[in-house]
Symmetry: C2
Subunit: 339 residues, 2 copies
C-alpha cells in the first residue's frame, strides 16, 4: 500500500500537481467509455469556468495514477486530490458504501437522487467516508443497467443453479442464494470466457457500454431488468483537507456542477440505449425480460441478503432504514399519479 501511495504521489507531482489550483481527478473508468468519460470532462470544464480557473481538475483515465480500488485510499492520503468512482468499490472497506453504488430492487434514478440530496442519504454517505478523509457526493447518475448476458435461456429460477456468472457486490450474493456461482473477472476477459464456457453469463453495464465489448457475438440472451442496479451513482470524492481549504463559492461551484452532471448523465443515457438494443437484435440477440418467476425469486433472495447485512452491520441497517422511509412516501404519491 505504501509503495502504491508513493508511486501515485510521484505521478501526481509530475503529471498533474504542477500549478496551484490544478487538481488531479483520478477516474475509475476509461476515458473512452460513453457517458462516463465525457461526464468527467464536462465536470472539469464547468468547474473551471465557474471558478475562473481557480479550480482546474485534470482528468486521469482508469489506472493512470491509481488502480480503481485504491483511489479512495490515495485521495484520503492526499496523493491524489479527487476521485471519480463507484461507491460499490468501497464495500470491502465499509459494507454500507455499496448502497450508494446501487440498491438492488431499489430506486430508479430520480428517486435515488432525491433520497440522497433531500432525504438524508448524503449525510450518511459522508459519515461512512469520513474515516477515509474524503468528502463524497453524487456527481453523475447511471440509469438502469441491463440484467445481463446469458449464453443459455433462463426459463425459471432453477436455470440459474450452477451458472458461472461474472457479477460482484450485493448482486453476486443474491445470485449465490439461488445456486449460481458469482465470479470476479476483468472486463477484458469476459468475451473469451463466455466463448470458452469458463463463464455462462455476465453483468456489465447498460447497452451503450455493453456494446463496446462485443458481447452480442458470444452470448445471445440479453436479459432485463437490471434488478441489481435499477440506478447507480458516479461518486466524486475530494480529499478532505483540500475541500476544507476551498472557499464557499468554490465548494458551491463543485456541488452545483455535480447537480448539472446528475441531470446530464440521466438525459444523455435515457434515449441513447435504443440504438444499441436495435444493433444487438440485428445481430441475432434476444432482448427480453427475465420471466416473472425469476424476478420474484431474485427479489426474495435480495430481501434475505439485506436482512443478513443489516444484522451484521449497524451502518448498513441505518442507511437502508433511511432509504425505506423516504421510499414509502415517494411510492404512495407515485401510485396515485401513475398514468
Amino acid at each position: 500500500m505504501r509503495k502504491l501511495l508513493l508511486a501515485a504521489a510521484l505521478l501526481s507531482l509530475t503529471a498533474g500537481g504542477a500549478s496551484a489550483g490544478t487538481y488531479s481527478l483520478q477516474s475509475a473508468f476509461g476515458k473512452n467509455l460513453p457517458i462516463l468519460g465525457p461526464a468527467a470532462d464536462r465536470f472539469a470544464a464547468e468547474v473551471d469556468t465557474l471558478t475562473g480557473g481557480k479550480i482546474a481538475f485534470k482528468h486521469y483515465g482508469a489506472g493512470e495514477l491509481s488502480p480503481p480500488f485504491e483511489i479512495l485510499d490515495n485521495v484520503g492520503a492526499g496523493a491524489i486530490d479527487a476521485g471519480w468512482s463507484y461507491a460499490g468499490y468501497a464495500a470491502g472497506k465499509a459494507p454500507a458504501a455499496a448502497l450508494f453504488g446501487s440498491i438492488p430492487f431499489g430506486p430508479d434514478a430520480i428517486k435515488y437522487v432525491s433520497w440522497v440530496l433531500h432525504g438524508g442519504g448524503l449525510q450518511l454517505w459522508r459519515e461512512i467516508y469520513a474515516p477515509f478523509n474524503v468528502v463524497p457526493m453524487p456527481c453523475g447518475v447511471i440509469i438502469s443497467e441491463a440484467g445481463g448476458w446469458y449464453t443459455k435461456e433462463i426459463k425459471s429460477p432453477e436455470d440459474l443453479k450452477g451458472l458461472k456468472i461474472r457479477i460482484g457486490g450485493l448482486g453476486g450474493k443474491v445470485l449465490s442464494k439461488l445456486g449460481a456461482n458469482p465470479m470476479s473477472l476483468p472486463a477484458g476477459e469476459i468475451s473469451t470466457s463466455l466463448e470458452t464456457g469458463r463463464l455462462d453469463a455476465t453483468e456489465l453495464s447498460f447497452p451503450m457500454i455493453d456494446r463496446l465489448l462485443g458481447l452480442d457475438k458470444v452470448a445471445k440472451h440479453y436479459y432485463f431488468p437490471g434488478w441489481h442496479q435499477p440506478s447507480g451513482f458516479i461518486e466524486l470524492y475530494v480529499n478532505k483537507d483540500k475541500w476544507n481549504g476551498w472557499s464557499d463559492a468554490e465548494r458551491t461551484a463543485v456541488e452545483t456542477v455535480c447537480s448539472d452532471i446528475d441531470l446530464w448523465t440521466i438525459g444523455t443515457a435515457v434515449a441513447g440505449q435504443q440504438e444499441a438494443l436495435d444493433a444487438f437484435r440485428a445481430d441475432g440477440v434476444t432482448v427480453e425480460r427475465f420471466p416473472d418467476s425469476v424476478i420474484e425469486a431474485l427479489r426474495k433472495a435480495t430481501a434475505e441478503v439485506y436482512a443478513e447485512n443489516e444484522a451484521a452491520d449497524p451502518m448498513f441497517r441505518k442507511v437502508l432504514e433511511s432509504y425505506r422511509a423516504f421510499s414509502k412516501a415517494y411510492d404512495q404519491y407515485q401510485a396515485l399519479n401513475r398514468l
Copy 2:
C-alpha cells in the same frame, strides 16, 4: 400595455435596478408558496455566489412589478430583466408554449427534463420565444399535480358532463370534449365558489400547495392522477439583450444553477406530499384515483385535442413530434427495466 410597461420600468428603477449587476426577477408565483418561492431565492443566491456578485437577481413576488400574464412582454421590452413563470401562460400568444408548461398524459419529471435538455426540446422552446426577445430555459420542475378537487363523486365519464370546473389550457379543452364547462377563476375565489356551487370542481397544484387554500373544507373528493400535468416546468427567461451581454462564465453560471434547481425542486417535492395527503384524509377527504373508465375517456379526448392543435399550428405539431420521438425510445427502455 404601454402604461403597464412604463409603470414596470419605473418600479424597476426604484426597486431593483439601482446598481449595475443587479437584475430584476419577476416571479409569477407568490413568495410564500412552498417550493416555488424558495426555489427562486435559491436560484438568486447561487448565481450570486458563482458569479462573485456580478449577477445579483432581486426576486419580486407575484404582481410586484408586473401581473403574471404580462411578465413575458415586460421582460422582452427590457422593463424587467428576467421572468420566473409557467410557459402555459404564454399559450395565448404562442399555442406551442403550452407544451413547455405541461404535456397532458405526457412525461414524468425526468423524461420531461431529459427531452428538453437532450432531445431537442430547448431549441424549440427558444425558437418559440425568440419573437418575444427573451431566452427561456427550464429552471425548476413541478412534479405531478393532483387531478383536482371535486364536490361530487366521479364514477364514470358521464359524471363529468355539465360540471363547472376551474381549469385552463389544454386540460380545459380536454374536459370540454367530455361535456364539462371549464372556467377561469382567480385562486382566491376558488374556495367560496366551491362552497356556493358556482364551481363543482377545481384543479390547482400538488397537495403541499393545495393545502394552503383549505380546499379540504369545501370539497371532499381529491382525485388523481394529475393527467393534465404529469410534470411541469418553472421557466426562467432573460431579456435577450441582457443575456447576450453576459460573459460565457455568467451564462454558464445561470444554466448550471438551473440544473441544480431542477433537481432541487423535484427532490424537495417528491416526499413532501405525503404529509399533506395525510392531513386531508384526517379531515374526511377521500384521496383516490379516478376510475379507469374516466382516465381512458380523458386520454382519448386528449388525443383529439392534440390532433386539432397540430392541424391548426405547425409549431405545435413540430414540438409534439420531437417529444414523441424521444418518448418512444425512452418508453421501450423503461418497459424492459420495470421492477
